[in-house]
Amino acid sequence: MGLLSILRKLKSTPDQEVRILLLGLDNGGKTTLLKQLASEDITHITPTQGFNIKSVQSQGFKLNVWDIGGQRKIRPYWRNYFENTDVLIYVIDSADRKRFEETGQELAELLDEEKLSGVPVLVFANKQDLLTAAPASEIAEGLNLHTIRDRVWQIQSCSALTGEGVQDGMNWVCKSVNAKRK
């Protein structure tokens, strides 16, 4: 699975750009996920200062995935990347229970953002390869995801490291982009 296969699953409308935004706390695994999607080496990853972007283009149709650094200091810049977002992917370190509250707060603030209103959200309960990882159901409950009424949402357990669950999540992303464009 790669970015190109995701692009192919999306209904193509020429000259259009699909924009996927990856957000979440630092050390959640956003860059690993991005590199996994782009089939790149994930062993030399460093903390993201600023942002990373990967793009694929096919028949005039473009998919951009934006991975924005998660450290507190640069979270105020997140809003600069909201515009025209088709799907928000929120990445959580399922093993870092101490920061569940913090990550929940950040997500809640994102869902209140006007520029992101109605944008489908996929929550990746990442790092399921770790023994201490909380299951997706527990995270969904902790984040009160079931109270979200104003958009479609999904939680998907995954391991960006091994790639497990990533494909399922991305299939959901494609489906919701296509549904929105009908």
């Binding site: 706390l25 630092d26 050390n27 994930i42 062993t43 030399h44 990853i45 460093t46 903390p47 200062q49 600023g50 942002f51 990373n52 998660g70 450290q71 507190r72 200091k73 640069i74 810049y77 600069n80």
Partner: protein, 313 residues
């Protein structure tokens, strides 16, 4: 349109001719040229390189290329030697190439130095790779002490209130516990950061003060770990060879890698301030620009990337 097609054809033809020439040269001409030169000068290619080029990247890189292209197994094997086998192998080369040592007394010393540099580079890379693969472990006392020492060196006037604290943000870690920030660079990242602060405390603090600037600032430690990645990948791709061949006359050691990191940390800071980026979000763009600049410098055969401290204005 027509000229475009013609132009395209011409470039393709030129490229093809270049390719044919290269094949012809490496498969046949190079051999006869060497044979002829050997006959006229009475010296083999290795000897000619040593006589023609002064010590450093120019000589060592040409020796390396000559050994790599050699038809002789003994010569090719000289590129993957352990230090202990070096002298024995040197004697084998001299025998294989029927070199008369009395006629060219400096040759052996010179070739030995080249082999030390060539093989030392790959050995050093293995060491660097081992250190990178070592994950920072908060249960490991040595790792913990290194981290605390980094704090003390960078922030001599401020005590850490506890091991897990927001204060780490003051030296540019992301959260309250730096342990998650080393990622794919592992202990190599921490060792680099610590080496810079230990060996150039004033310069490191000067860079940290620039990094703390409200408008032009950046996360000192995180950027440092990104620069470790830069140094590492430059070494991995062999781009660092000319620098090491020019600056270390024998086998390069770990400290030489750390010194190169210091160069990057110091120079990147200057570069960042000169470029005046709009915000920290532009980091990767300027990182690439800086990377290209360093790669360009590394292509010059005489390159030496040594950190030199400017007087603070």
């Amino acid at each position: 349109m027509r000229t475009n097609t013609n132009h395209f054809r011409a470039t393709r033809l030129l490229r093809m001719l270049g390719y044919i020439w290269q094949c012809f040269y490496s498969s046949c001409l190079r051999f006869w040229l060497k044979w002829f030169l050997r006959l006229v000068t009475g010296r083999c290619e290795l000897q000619r390189i040593c006589a023609r080029c002064k010590a450093g990247a120019l000589r060592t890189a040409q020796i390396e290329y000559s050994l790599k292209c050699s038809k002789s197994k003994v010569l090719r094997a000289a590129l993957s030697l352990k230090e202990n086998d070096l002298d024995e192998h040197l004697a084998q080369i001299i025998q294989e190439k029927r070199i008369k040592e009395q006629k060219d007394p400096t040759f052996k010393v010179n070739l030995r130095q080249c082999l030390l540099q060539i093989n030392g580079y790959s050995e050093l890379f293995e060491e660097v790779e081992d250190l990178r693969k070592q994950v920072f472990d908060s249960e490991n006392e040595e790792h913990e002490n290194m981290l605390l020492k980094l704090w003390d060196l960078l922030m001599p006037s401020e005590k850490l209130e506890s091991r897990v604290t927001k204060q780490w943000g003051n030296i540019g870690f992301q959260g309250e516990d730096p342990k998650t920030d080393f990622r794919g660079m592992g202990m190599l990242g921490l060792t680099n950061l610590l080496f810079f602060s230990e060996n150039h405390p004033d310069a490191a603090r000067q860079v940290l003060s620039h990094a703390s600037h409200p408008r032009l600032g950046y996360s000192y430690a995180i950027v440092g770990i990104n620069l470790t990645e830069m140094a590492y990948s430059l070494m991995k791709s062999d781009a660092l060879k000319p620098h090491f061949y020019n600056t270390v006359s024998g086998k390069p050691q770990m400290q030489h890698f750390h010194h190169f990191y210091c160069y990057l940390a110091y120079e990147f800071d200057k570069f960042w301030l000169e470029e005046e980026p709009e915000s920290i979000m532009e980091f990767n763009r300027y990182r690439e620009k800086f990377h290209d600049k360093v790669k360009g410098q590394l292509q010059k055969p005489e390159v030496k990337l040594i950190m030199t401290v400017d007087q603070e204005k």
